[in-house]
Symmetry: C2
Subunit: 201 residues, 2 copies
Amino acid sequence: MGYSSKLLEKAVDQFSTLPGIGKKSALRMALHMLRQPKENVELFASAIVGMANNVKHCKVCNMVCDEELCPVCSDPRRNRSLICVVESVRDVLSIENTQIYNGLYHVLDGIISPMDGVGPGDLPIAELEERVSSGQVKEVVLALSTSMEGETTSYFLYNRLKKYDIKITTIARGVAFGDDLEYTDELTLAKSIENRQLFKI
Amino acid sequence: MGYSSKLLEKAVDQFSTLPGIGKKSALRMALHMLRQPKENVELFASAIVGMANNVKHCKVCNMVCDEELCPVCSDPRRNRSLICVVESVRDVLSIENTQIYNGLYHVLDGIISPMDGVGPGDLPIAELEERVSSGQVKEVVLALSTSMEGETTSYFLYNRLKKYDIKITTIARGVAFGDDLEYTDELTLAKSIENRQLFKI
């Protein structure tokens, strides 16, 4: 598509670097920006640059935060003997949203993926081991995805942590609430039967 | 959703002001930005601010451009007796993409919509009339949408321009290429029968 303005084209190119955004949506965003007052555009740009330049990672769990420690790690009411290992910041926010988990986290910010050139050394696994070896931890919950990479990472972590006197668990897989059995894939259905639980009222 | 970082939250809020972007996509975009090198984030921000501050509107047709005149208006090969009136910059880019249209444009950058407080005086309609009254124009094509607002605007423009010795046309409506008749709405199907054309080989 030929644009009538190089400036517009540059902005569209930049918007289309965003995940899930194609050229058409990027154009829509650029034209939306053109219709905004200049102050709003400045605000938009400075919020993003400000975040990129000033955001920190929690020195304990690697979560995105504004201080040395993230709100979870610095909260005295959280259960310090429980660590949930997740792939991304988004996973932490999703779990926090359920309001059911009271332990700490460990954000890998990636997953072992030889295809993408990500090895165990690229992830904060030594830091996790250090936390576990301190003796305060009783359980590590592996909440990684069931993709090939997720399973590989879980297996790697299990091997690294099994020598410690802790429980290593993984989140339950099964038929989601509201899902029909007939539309559930066989693996999930099989797992949910295998891991059946006592009926509680 | 509670974020672990105010800076992250601000960036997410800004991304979610973009058209079609909800909180979840905005979070994905913000975290994507966090993973980029700082130079890329600066580039992103400056492309958008640069566009907002420096882009011009063609003084003839109101199209977004970098100079006084847009590439279409300054192209001597374009047919100056033909003006296509469109609602937005995107419509111009779509029509240019077809490579079938050789005339000029007039970008309203909006549409008459009393519900949104947009009256005829808010659109460059006087400028269109001025172009038409110069005598060089032989035909005005109204390429506005068939929404209530689009029809209102077309009707208004027709009334303003009918006193001039020009042809006022509108783009053909009909069954789109590849569409099945049985799934076409009745109005479109009716129009396409009413406006049937001689079969050409």
